[in-house]
């Protein structure tokens, strides 16, 4: 069981054009920087990307958008990205907007082998168009399908060679859900350790879900909205 690969290039080498990818992260927080760079370098296209956001113009998935590698984005929020806006308005880029909790829960459904789930979000809105509505206990729910993706690409804080993953702070976000939902899951980690180093009580994603893992390099971790308070009082 050799899950450890040499780096991002090897990890993504068999991802073909036209693939459906899940990409972890919320905004620029916890995104798989190394794999995104490798995907840009590899130059495959016609990708469908399931990711809560689409990066900014010059970082994150924005880098793939610049290279016109993305055919379709499935996201909850895609602001802060001029190139994205241009491609969307010109019709080059297809966009499916999904409520954030629905996006997360559809990943979880995949991870837990549930084909579809009933969720409250979007009832009575355009999100409900074409979906089954069902009333349980007086509330209306939409039937939302689990996601099918070919590859899930996530970024963890630490991982071991068995594929066990842990995440730091709010960089967790969609990463564990997508890691568990991928047909093939690729994890880049800030620190890769031997089995037995991570406490088995505090594993966020058990290794059974992870197929390839490597220690990433040169994390930039760009901050989107740097907000601070004054030193005072």
């Amino acid at each position: 069981m050799k899950k450890v690969v040499s780096g991002a290039d090897e990890a993504i080498q068999d991802i073909p054009s036209g693939a459906i990818l899940m990409l972890g992260g919320f905004g620029l927080c916890g995104i798989p920087e190394n794999c995104i760079a490798a995907l840009v370098k590899k130059g495959i296209n016609n990708l469908t990307c399931i990711s809560n956001n689409a990066g900014v113009d010059d970082f994150g998935i924005g880098l793939m958008l610049q290279k016109k590698q993305v055919k379709k984005m499935i996201s909850s929020y895609v602001g802060e990205n001029a190139e994205f806006e241009r491609q969307m308005l010109s019709g080059e880029l297809e966009v499916e907007l999904v409520p954030q909790g629905t996006l997360a829960t559809r990943c979880m459904a995949t991870a837990y082998g549930m084909p579809a789930v009933y969720l409250l979000a979007g009832y009575g809105t355009e999100v409900a168009d074409g979906k089954e509505v069902r009333n349980f206990n007086g509330k209306n729910y939409l039937l939302e399908n689990a996601f099918n993706s070919d590859f899930a690409i996530v970024k963890a804080w630490k991982g071991d060679t068995q594929g066990n993953l842990i995440f730091k702070d709010t960089a967790r976000n969609f990463n564990p859900l997508m890691a568990m939902a991928g047909k093939i899951t690729i994890a880049e980690v800030e620190e890769l350790v031997e089995p037995g180093i991570l406490d088995p009580n505090f594993i966020h994603v058990p290794g059974i879900y992870v197929h390839r893992i490597f220690q990433g390099l040169h994390y930039e971790k760009r901050i989107e909205q740097r907000t601070v308070r004054k030193v005072s009082k």
């Binding site: 620029l28 409520p99 997360a104 979000a121 995440f167 030193v231």
Partner: protein
Amino acid sequence: MYYNLYQKKLQQFMLNKEQIAKRIAQELQDGFYVNLGIGIPTLVANYIPDGLDVVLQSENGLLGMGPFPYEGEEDPDLINAGKQTITTIPGSAFFDSAMSFGMIRAGKVHLTVLGAMEVADNGDIANWKIPGKMVKGMGGAMDLVAAAQNIIVAMQHTNPKGESKLLSKCTLPLTGVGCVKKVVTDLGVFNITENGFECIEYAPGVTIDEIIAKTAGRITIAPTVKEIAI
């Protein structure tokens, strides 16, 4: 100079953003778990009454959000749902996005405060999309309005053109149906009832006539209506 005086007086006639936030903070109760949206709602955190234990949820995966970090202490791995750098308080907990919306959906979050473009007198809300304009997405708004126990909208009573944002029916695409419980605007505080908006408080210097004039949806005035105390 006469103009400046008029401006000053006008400002006294309605709540500013900080005052709207301050009024909403009066809705907090000890032990509440609260989700605050971007904009005015975020300011509510500054006015949590002393002695109340209120825990802030950030839907990207945190309970126990603290204030912004001091300069130099920003951590890119620690942001709120508005993507701002933040801190945590003792007793905080991180979790993934599915659990985050799971606890919202299960009714564990007591109060959600968010902004809106329009609110209808039946509690419908529109706050994510303007046809013809670039659509950025609903983020977590649809989940929050569909599932939170108690939803308060913080917004201006009228849009920049002076048109009411409290309508009989939303004109913009909906975010959620029949979900808003209360609206706090620069002019007053309104419950959503079977009879539409019910004005329960008015801003200092604002007249009931003005509120009625500026509200397009059905509106009643509570018998106990009083001036907002902030």
